[in-house]
Symmetry: C2
Subunit: 245 residues, 2 copies
């Protein structure tokens, strides 16, 4: 069934008002009619089963038939900050981490990033939000991942007080600390966690020093070298495995 | 450094003889010369650092400078059998599970597969083996994943005595058994494990009955619906996380 994600203010007196792109989608893409059924999620992770009671120029009005509260979201808020790289790779990671339950995504320009922020077009954020909507719907999530504007690593670090736990994935991790990821995952529960994954060439030594000095914890992901597209999926899978299974 | 994978018989009297595609790669793609250094892995997971001492029409001869035994392979043999689908998806999964340490890959025709075995060309196996080599080299593995010919599910089940543990990923798993994956992963150590992941439409009810009756254990991968491209990565990541971190 088609699923839409709304802001809380779109729900008034037990009716839901859909406008903007979702209005276009219901009317012109799905060509839905009165009494057709759709699913709607609000910002509180409620899931409403609704029938369409009105379609006009400005909005579609939905009547709530049933309210559900499925427990499908990770019990932690994970933001993946990924070394800025080609759009196709960013988008693949974004799609998969949305399926795997991440809450946020930030492309980050680092010293070895093959792409620079000035090359990024604003339209890319719109496209990324479309990917998130699609993936959230397909994976039956009740919450949308938030895509943030690309930032430089120094700015991300400067604003990291928004998070409770700071982590970065580091492939050159010495053996004696290789267990840290397993040891800290259980502390992620109900916390806001920022996980930084480096670009193709990895973090520079200066970046590693800076992360360490600002309280970021280095985690290792096993003995094989994972690509930038694979590391975030390993991290999200491990978190789900540890906290949800 | 460039890495090649050899059969044990290519190592004779402390010299390594490279022929075939790898000969072509060294001579014509990499344009290597005498005394250039390459890495070679044999079937026992030894890693040899070698210099080139001879390049002729039929082979490249390598002298072993150093023998290493890095511990980078999963302590279990995991074969992922994936519902037959479009080549681009099969190849993406193959690349990622190679990075993540899988030992085998089998495309499987199931009732709801969108692609049939008769559509598959023999050349695809060659292409898949190239992907495995690339991914194994990049992830610094010492072992190549084995790509098997596509089979029908009934034939895979009939030949499943090659494996010690039989598992399938089932999204409709009832809640009371949802912990099984976590409970059984620790039993995977030093075993040959076959994990079947269904096609886009999932397993048919008859297939589920058949798998259950033949001793396959159903595992759930959490509350969200994962795509066929994502489920194998979740499984491999969880196994690495549990057995290697």
């Amino acid at each position: 069934m088609q699923r839409y994600f709304i802001k809380n203010e779109q729900l008034k007196n037990d009716l839901i008002y859909i406008d903007g792109q979702d209005l276009h989608h219901i009317k012109n893409v799905m060509r839905m009619r009165l009494e057709d059924i759709v699913e709607v999620c609000d910002e509180e992770e409620n899931l409403y089963i609704c029938n369409i009671i009105e379609i006009n120029k400005n909005n579609v009005v939905l009547n709530i038939q049933e309210t559900l509260k499925p427990n499908v979201e990770l019990p932690t808020s994970i933001t993946i900050a990924l070394g800025l790289t080609r759009s196709s790779k960013l988008e693949e990671v974004l799609r998969r981490i949305t399926e795997l339950g991440a809450s946020g995504f930030i492309p980050v320009e680092m010293k070895r990033s093959v792409v620079r922020i000035k090359d990024e077009k604003a339209s890319k954020i719109d496209r990324m939000n479309m990917i998130v909507k699609e993936a959230a719907e397909q994976s039956k999530r009740t919450k949308l991942l938030e895509v943030k504007e690309p930032v430089k690593l120094e700015n991300l670090i400067a604003n990291s007080s928004d998070y409770d736990i700071l982590v970065y994935s580091y492939e050159d991790l010495k053996t004696d600390s290789k267990n840290k990821f397993k040891n800290i995952i259980s502390t992620f529960k109900n916390k806001r966690v920022l996980v930084i994954v480096g670009p193709e060439g990895g973090f520079s030594p200066e970046e590693v020093d800076e992360l360490n000095s600002k309280g970021f914890i280095a985690i290792g992901l096993g003995p094989r070298i994972l690509r930038l597209e694979t590391a975030p999926l390993y991290i999200m899978s491990a978190i789900s495995y540890e906290l949800e299974l």
